[in-house]
Amino acid sequence: MTEAEAPHRDPDLSPGRARRLAYQNRQRRRSLLIGAVSTVLVFGVVILVVVNSPGWPTVRESFFSWEDFKASFPEILTGFARNVRIFLIAEVFILIVALILAVIRSSRAPVLTPLRLAATAYVDIIRGIPTIILLFLLGFGVPALRLQGVPNSQEFWAITTLVISYSAYVAEVYRAGIDSVHESQTSAARSLGLSSAQSMRWVVLPQAVRRVIPPLLNDFVALQKDSALLALLGVQEAFRRSQIYVAETFNFTAYLAAAFLFMLVTIPLARFTDYLIRRQRERTTGTSV
């Protein structure tokens, strides 16, 4: 098979082509200008209103004090290192537990019926309980039992809570991915002699997981923020540290410092997720609109 030469265009612009390019450029400059002006206008008005409000001097003092930001920051930063450790550990277990739950729920093998019912009940119940209540139940309840051989550290139970709670949501994300792989893929795999477990492992799951990476990252962003809930158990993470600072100084800037640290990790990840979603859409539809 010989490849025909692709159509080639003369680099010299025809008048018609030049006119189109000029028009496109004008359009692009116009939309940029409109975007810039409206942004400046909207934010300008908001800032003016806030700055001219009667309470602004006090608020600026207690929320935007550079002195307090600097003073509280080191403590909060070491606390935040703990958040990072917690959400990284939790995420690893969430991804594993959720995948197991999703595979169990998606399987049709009769042997797994009791497991499937249990997994369904688990997902329903856990998704129905506010994470904060679950955190109190496990974080204060289990250590109080003083069971032999069971860890009593609150950090341990806090991570466990996050894993239990998030794996129920993430399992549903995986399951949506599994359902999105067309049946014909399973037919093709089975027709080659692969067992139903092998088809799941080598054909369905690789495709399913790839498709749900953006929503998985989305849940990971949410998890990072929810690691602040651990403050309620007294775990010395960023939010807890800022609470302590606020209690000592009656200046709220420390909260802002903690929020700043969270944004530092969540915003880039959220942008990256958007980028992946866009790329995926371009791949599947071939367009960038």
Partner: protein
């Protein structure tokens, strides 16, 4: 001579709709059987039942004298001995051409990756696709994808190949290369059942032709008998319609 495949009185129903009604057919080794008929006549379902992708409601499917449709029989074992090529190719989009071909030999037959790759390479050479081994399915034309699908099935070294309208999803100019590949296989003595609307091809490649309508085998015989001088009204009407289209 005992048949390689012996389908006896197979019934299949989807809800109230009877798709296969008492279908029987026999196929000996090296024989090529073409199945033709209007859409909805049960041709594709017949192939899916033979490959046990659909359980039959009643009847027997003997492969080498063993009833593979018996509910007690290990379906995976039967499927690895029967290859099927689908209308819509159904390649695995996340795997390269080479990995598409070696997956089942490696996981099911437990052939080492290296050995499976050598076999795959031979097959790719034979079907003129050697330069595509590292491509992903999305980057291939429909005709190339279907030839890869044929190779993927052949890599399991099946004793029977089923083709379910293998050219129906292809652009007209790509039909030839896939039919050519099937013809090569027929010439090499592969036992096959081909469901196709390409009547000229069926006449050319098949030893026998089966005409199906509304889930029944209406006519069966040599290609000339069924495709040129059919005895039933229904077959004649169908052939007249097909002649008008092409």
């Amino acid at each position: 001579m005992s048949a390689l495949l012996d389908v006896r009185g197979v019934w299949k129903q989807f809800g109230d709709l009877v798709v296969l009604a008492d279908v029987s057919l026999a196929l000996s080794t090296h024989e090529v059987l073409a199945v033709v008929g209007p859409s909805g006549s049960g041709k594709s379902t017949l192939l899916r039942c033979i490959n046990l992708l659909e359980p039959v409601d009643d009847g027997e499917i003997l492969l080498d004298g063993v009833d593979i449709a018996d509910p007690e029989f290990d379906a995976d074992d039967a499927r690895r001995r029967i290859g099927i090529v689908f209308q819509s190719f159904n390649l695995f989009p996340h795997l390269s051409v080479l990995d598409n071909i070696t997956l089942a030999p490696n996981k099911v037959l437990k052939i080492s990756k290296e050995e499976a790759q050598i076999t795959a390479q031979h097959l790719l050479n034979r079907f003129d696709l050697a330069d595509k081994r590292d491509e992903y399915p999305d980057r291939l034309s429909g005709g190339q994808q279907q030839r890869v699908a044929i190779i993927r099935a052949l890599a399991m070294n099946p004793s029977l190949m089923l083709f379910d309208e293998p050219t129906s999803a292809l652009d007209p100019e790509l039909v030839g290369e896939v039919l050519g590949a099937i013809k090569t296989l027929a010439a090499e003595g592969m036992t096959m059942i081909v469901v196709s609307h390409e009547l000229a091809f069926a006449r050319d490649v098949a030893d026998r032709v089966l005409f199906m309508d509304e889930g029944r085998v209406v006519e069966e015989g040599s290609p000339d008998q069924v495709l040129v001088n059919p005895t039933t009204d229904r077959a004649r009407r169908f052939l007249r319609l097909m002649a008008e289209v092409t």
